[in-house]
Structures are given as C-alpha cells and as structure tokens.
C-alpha cells in the first residue's frame, strides 16, 4: 500500500473539519427546535459523522506509514491515551464524589483533548528520534 502524502492528508482533514464546523453552525441549532425524537436524534448525531471519517483517515495514514513514522505514531498515541485516561479517571472520581459538578457535556472534551495530547506527544517523539522539530507532520 502506498503511503498517504502529507499534503493530501492535511487537505482531506481540513475539508472534513470544515464540514464539521458548518454542521455545528447551521445544523446544530435546529436540534433544540425539533420535537420529533427520531429527527432530533439524527440531527444530534450528524456532526459525529465527520469525526468518524477523520478517525478513519488517521487510521489509514498510520497503517500506510513507513516504519519510523509508525514508531512515532505509536509512541504519541500511547502517551495521548495515557494522559486522557488519567484525566478521565480523575474527573470521573471527582464527579462521583460530587466535588466537581459537571454534566455529560464534559465528554465532548475527550476527543479534542486526545488530539491535543497526541499532537504534543508526536512532536516530542519525532524530535527525540529524528532530532528535528516537525510542526506540520502530525
């Protein structure tokens, strides 16, 4: 399988995230105005579709990456999963103990937090292995 070019990947992710932003701006406000439960569920879940596509693109890129890239992706994903898991467990206990009064909306932050932690971890993993700061690579 041929490697996925960085430019093509970045373009695809940017296009899909633009769709996500458009959905959140124009489609999401309709959720509160709809009374039919089925339509409401469909409207509520629609913005999840672009996120699923982005995750599929990330998986495809990792599968088709070369051996050094796969190593950096693995390190970054492991670190990101670890960081987010710690936050999730700590947050969960604080909510259960009623120390932190958070709603279910706090779950929204898991994916952005995972992406952020992954990006930072990838930068450091790449720097450690290649000796170069590659700010546009992940």
């Amino acid at each position: 399988m041929a490697r996925v070019s960085r430019g093509k990947y970045n373009l695809q992710v940017a296009a899909i995230m633009a769709v996500y932003v458009a959905l959140m701006l124009f489609e999401w406000p309709l959720v509160g105005k709809t009374h039919d439960l089925t339509v409401r569920a469909v409207l509520a879940l629609l913005p999840a579709a672009p996120i699923v596509v982005v995750i599929a693109l990330v998986v495809r890129r990792i599968i088709r990456a070369d051996e050094l890239e796969q190593r950096t992706y693995l390190i970054a994903l492991s670190m990101a999963a670890g960081i987010v898991s710690v936050f999730a467990v700590v947050g969960g206990f604080l909510i259960l103990a009623k120390v932190w009064h958070a709603s279910g909306a706090v779950l929204f932050w898991i994916f952005p937090m995972l992406c952020f932690a992954y990006s930072i971890a990838w930068l450091f993993a790449t720097r450690r292995i290649t000796g170069v700061w590659d700010f546009w690579g992940c």
Binding site: A2, R3, A65, D66, E67, L68, E69, T126, I129, T130, G131, V132, D134, G137
Partner: protein, 67 residues
C-alpha cells in the same frame, strides 16, 4: 549503527526525497537513517542494499562508541 547511505545517495546524485520515493518511506526517515538517529529494520536495510547494489555488511557497521 554507522552507515554509508548518504555517501551512496550522493554518489547517485539523488536527493533525500528521491531516495525516499525509491524506498517508499518519508524523506524524514531517510534523513534520520543518514544521521544515525534511526537504524532501519532488516527489510528496509536489504532494500537499501539492493537499491545501491551493495552487500548489507558493507553499508552498515556497528558503532563501537555506542556499544
């Protein structure tokens, strides 16, 4: 590991990007191998050796300082 990848690549007049295309890896990976930051897997090392028509042991040798 020390290697002669840079020397052989330059002898062919190739850029890192061209070598990366031949090997189907990223330019960053070629750069990391040349600078001794990353030791390639056996399949990739054999691919390099075949590409430059070299014996693998003439391209790679253990770095005594790092032992």
């Amino acid at each position: 590991m020390r290697n002669r990848v840079r020397e052989l690549r330059e002898a062919h007049g190739w850029s890192q990007g061209v070598l990366a295309e031949h090997l189907d890896v990223s330019r960053q990976t070629v750069n990391a191998i040349e600078n001794g930051k990353y030791d390639p897997s056996l399949p990739l090392a054999f691919k390099l050796a075949r590409l430059f028509r070299q014996r693998i042991e003439s391209m790679f040798e253990p770095d005594e300082d790092r032992r």
